[in-house]
Assembly symmetry: C2
Homo-oligomer: 275 residues x 2
């Protein structure tokens, strides 16, 4: 973390910045967005803010004004050209116990991180043994209770793969640990509908929109491991690394296919370096 | 929070006590214990520390020495007679991304809270609409990713009930929001086995042990809503409030039964005020 604004204030010491009683810490009671800063701008800022608002509605968390958030993001980025911006909202300082205060004072933290280590365009994947629990209220939301993702990332830490695919507790394909997943089969684009769990990624939304505009048939639905095995192309998306092709999963190999390349080119065209 | 020790140090300002980059905040990546302080002692301290160690093993988190934790709990409690002690461990300060550092420096926080508001011995319950996601790795563990419990508590906030019962995503009975649940039927004690989710409560463990010693048949297994409906007695347990009888759930009513009273008396005898 290079620097941060917490409730609009630059803390004197990032090591002593947050209240010991913050509900984000005690209960994972909050939301976050991870955004790319590229050439001095955040290309998908409005889409991130829209998802944040949807998450606030889902958690009954009162969302700070978007103009304030935009302003503070600019403040934190300052003259920086490239990096990653993390925006976090929590249900503020609370007492002991799960029940929130009637009108909690939301904690907001906006932090700038160095640019992410570059990822290859061609990714090797493995399967995580950790499964995602199903919770329709939290499905799609980028919330702070992310221990499943931590365990999943540890599953693949020493395997040499670039990313790990995750199933939910009922065996449906959901996503990679930090990315959404897309399959191509019979010229159609398939992606999990995330009705039970997973994060509805901002870059996922961009790809779905671009694919529709390009006349590609899109199916959001329930997918399983056999759908991955029978896919002609596989790719991942997230806000920091854009769209990347999957070329290997365990023993299976894929070429980088035409739909992947076409969507990647269109994304780069539309949002610049984010692709 | 009355006061706290963070990594052995009393922070000058509880409002600026924690690192902005702590993984407990960013990912719910940690564990906690909530312990009763009664008449100057923590009656189930060793059982709490044992569960904490099991949780550390499950999350691959290196557990601080128990002698250090015991000492710091004593320090925080000081001369206080009654209250609630919360012990929290997180995977420390980290960079961006789910992958933990190779040898993270664990954050430990031990905090003293005022005594809990007294609960009646006879509880009225409702059902929470929020379901618990299944994750066998996290089942039983008291970890920091607790947004499901926050939402569940909000489900019942305005309903006037004392506690809410929760099912998992597959419809199995798991627990109440902050308590474990027991049923009595045909003189046997039934409780969810928590193989998919839920917290393996310290007071639950005490009750199971006491019931076995008293010659009561105990079944830990899969229970459903119809098991609650056909139960002759229902009671809840947690470390702060001990054992409490359930006398109402929606339209159903129970008397406080003999097994509930017997186990409650035996608990009080064994652990003093915790019952």
């Amino acid at each position: 973390m290079i620097e941060a604004l917490i409730n609009g204030v630059r803390p004197g010491d990032l090591g002593h910045a947050l209240a010991a009683a913050d509900r984000g810490l005690h209960y994972g009671d909050g939301l976050f967005e991870t955004m790319l800063l590229a050439q001095g701008r955040v290309p998908l800022l409005e889409a991130h803010l829209q998802r944040l608002m949807l998450g606030c509605a889902r958690l009954s968390l009162s969302c700070p004004g978007l103009a304030l958030l935009r302003h503070e993001i600019q403040q934190v980025c300052g003259d920086a050209s490239d990096g990653v911006v993390k925006l976090m909202l929590t249900r503020g300082v609370g007492g002991r116990g799960y029940a929130p205060a009637a009108a909690p004072s939301i904690t907001r933290m906006i932090a700038l991180y160095p640019p992410a280590a570059p990822q290859p365009f061609e990714l090797k994947l493995g399967w995580c043994s950790t499964r995602l629990g199903r919770n329709t209220q939290l499905a799609g939301v980028k919330h702070l209770s992310r221990l499943e993702q931590v365990l999943a990332q540890m599953d693949i830490a020493t395997t040499g793969v670039d990313e790990g695919l995750m199933l939910d507790s009922a065996g449906e394909l959901i996503s990679a640990v930090s990315s959404n997943v897309f399959l191509v089969r019979d010229r159609a684009l398939l992606t999990p509908d995330l009705r039970h769990c997973g994060v509805r990624g901002v870059m996922r939304g961009q790809v779905l929109r671009i694919a529709s505009e390009a006349g590609i048939t899109v199916h959001e639905g329930a997918l399983r491991t056999e759908d991955v095995r029978s896919a002609e192309e596989v790719f991942l998306t997230n806000a920091v690394h854009g769209l990347r092709a999957v070329v290997a999963l365990d023993e299976q190999r894929w070429e980088v296919g035409p739909t992947t390349l076409r969507l990647h080119a269109e994304l780069q065209h539309q949002i610049g370096k984010a692709g």
